[in-house]
Amino acid sequence: MREKVILETQNLSKQFGGFVAVEKVNYKLFEGETAGIIGPNGAGKSTFFNLLTGLFPPTEGKILFFNQDITSTQAEHRVELGLVRTFQLVSVFDSLSVIDNLILAVTRFSPIFTNKFRFFFRDAHIKNITERAKEALNRVGLADKSHILTSELSYGDKRKLEIAMALALNPKVLLLDEPFAGLSDVEIKELLNLLHKVKKSLTLIIIEHKISRIVDLVTRLSVMHEGRIIAEGNPKDVLCNETVRRVYWGGESCSVDGITDSSDRRRRP
């Protein structure tokens, strides 16, 4: 089952000025798996996602997606190929209604997108599209808020909306950058349930700070530190890996509960 590599990086590096944010990362993602990436603040996790999804080009190295070199492919084209992401700081369109945020996502891979006359001139809210948009909202529990202006949503709801948008794009690979940040405990449980469901039909990479949350979700865990991946493998093994324990937690314990939040020193939205 874990045979096929669908996303691969070779010596992927990114420098900002003289600062190396991502250094020679060789990463492999297998079809159908749910991979987790952990690491302290500033380890380069988000930068790694930004490189994968084409927010900016790498300084060095290659990215292969389904054996196709996408290193210099435009971001929107990577989405078309099935590589979809969410952002660490929630990014949705505040000036639109909740449903309009989804309508664009749903429309992108519908016949309306290819029929330019319809795309330009026909009302965006046709039945078929709004129904699918509502379905997508339903999945994250936002159906009753579909006509609210997005700026009026709580941070947690925006987070859910962003995930609904990503799922509506029918990704082959979905990259979630700290999807639990800013959610309440109840919302985290709901989102975990959703992810347990969707992970059956797509390949996932999740960046997360609180390891305890994703230990049961992911099938493989990678640890990033100072731009490098320093350990990789089965989540429980990785957590007990000695280097990881030293650089990440500085602690001895390798029980999941003992190490949950220690490195999370950041501002929370």
Partner: protein, 318 residues
């Protein structure tokens, strides 16, 4: 109940707008109302970029002027058929957009504004000096059109009726463009273009499309004003007149079709009538701008619709 009412209003808005201008005509004179109509078309074209896509141009008189000169030159050299002149103007407007768009739409903010201004300066120079042999330079040129079928262009009522139909057509096109998926996409480009790319949209393409539609409709307004005035001078392509359309957008509310119309009419009323009473009326405009920027961010129309909504909500609660 209230929603139904608004729905109905929205459905017949084109009829309503038509009636409004028909009522304005006897009050303001037909000639003047015609000016208003043409200016409103220009404001609508402008706001596809500014209000909906968030790109403020300081050089839109170029596209208006291209339409004006193209139709005048067509009348002089090609055909005196006014429809041919309009067709050539539309092609010229679209052509200018296709030529300059790939450069301008890559930029945002001040850069977008100034690049358009720079091109506008070049156009102004061409019309005034470099191509003076054809354009008549400072004196401009007259444009004579034949009467086609019932279109007796000597009759100002006919010209008025024709312009009004054109405005209603543009309103219709704008309504469709802004309520479509494309319309939503433009708004996302305004708010966060990078994010729109991550929904899989090649934003460059759609920005270019919006730009070309805007330049084409601007040229349309330019052509109609030549049919109205039957002459063209460099003032039709003068960079300093960009203020007018920017002002109109701010007054009415740029991100809305009704707002554009309210702004277009309000600006024209101010600029046509205020000078009669106050000599340096531009100062009044300056003060009005300050008020708008600080107090009425979404323009008159935005203010009106927000207020109405507030009261309607209150009413619904009681």
């Amino acid at each position: 109940m209230r929603n139904n009412f608004l729905e109905i209003v929205r459905k017949v808005d084109i009829l309503f707008i038509g009636c409004a201008f028909l009522l304005l005509a006897p009050v303001l004179t037909v000639q003047r109302t015609n000016d208003f109509i043409i200016f409103c078309i220009f404001v609508l074209a402008y706001n596809l970029l500014y209000g909906f896509m968030g790109r403020l141009s300081f050089g839109h008189m170029l596209y208006f002027g291209v339409g004006a000169y193209a139709s005048a030159l067509t009348a002089e050299h090609l055909s005196a058929n006014p429809f041919a002149a309009i067709a050539v103007a539309l092609v010229a407007g679209a052509g200018t957009g296709i030529l300059l768009g790939p450069i301008t739409v890559r930029t945002t903010g001040a850069c977008f504004a100034l690049i358009n201004l720079a091109f506008n300066q070049v156009g102004y120079f061409l019309a005034l000096i470099a191509l003076a042999k054809w354009t008549g330079g400072e004196d401009g040129m007259a444009a004579f059109f034949d009467n086609i079928w019932i279109f007796d262009l000597g009759n100002r009522y006919v010209v008025f009726g024709f312009s009004l139909l054109c405005l209603l057509l543009v309103v219709y096109i704008m309504k469709r463009l802004t309520s479509s998926s494309f319309g939503i996409l433009l708004r996302t480009i305004k708010e966060n273009e990078t994010r729109a790319k991550f929904l899989g949209y090649n934003t460059f393409r759609y920005k270019l499309a919006a730009f070309v539609i805007s330049t084409t409709l601007s040229a349309f307004a330019g052509a109609l004003s030549i049919i109205n005035y039957t002459y063209v001078t460099p003032s039709f392509i003068d960079t300093t007149r960009n203020v007018e359309v920017i002002f109109a957008s701010l007054i009415g509310g740029s991100a809305s079709i009704y707002g554009s119309l309210v702004g277009g009419i309000s600006y024209m009323i101010i600029s046509n009538y205020l000078p009669k009473y106050i000599q340096r009326w531009e100062m009044f405009l300056g003060v009005a701008l300050l008020l708008l920027v600080f107090r009425f961010r979404s323009g008159l129309w935005g203010y009106i619709s927000e207020t109405v909504e507030k009261y309607a909500l209150k009413g619904a609660r009681e």
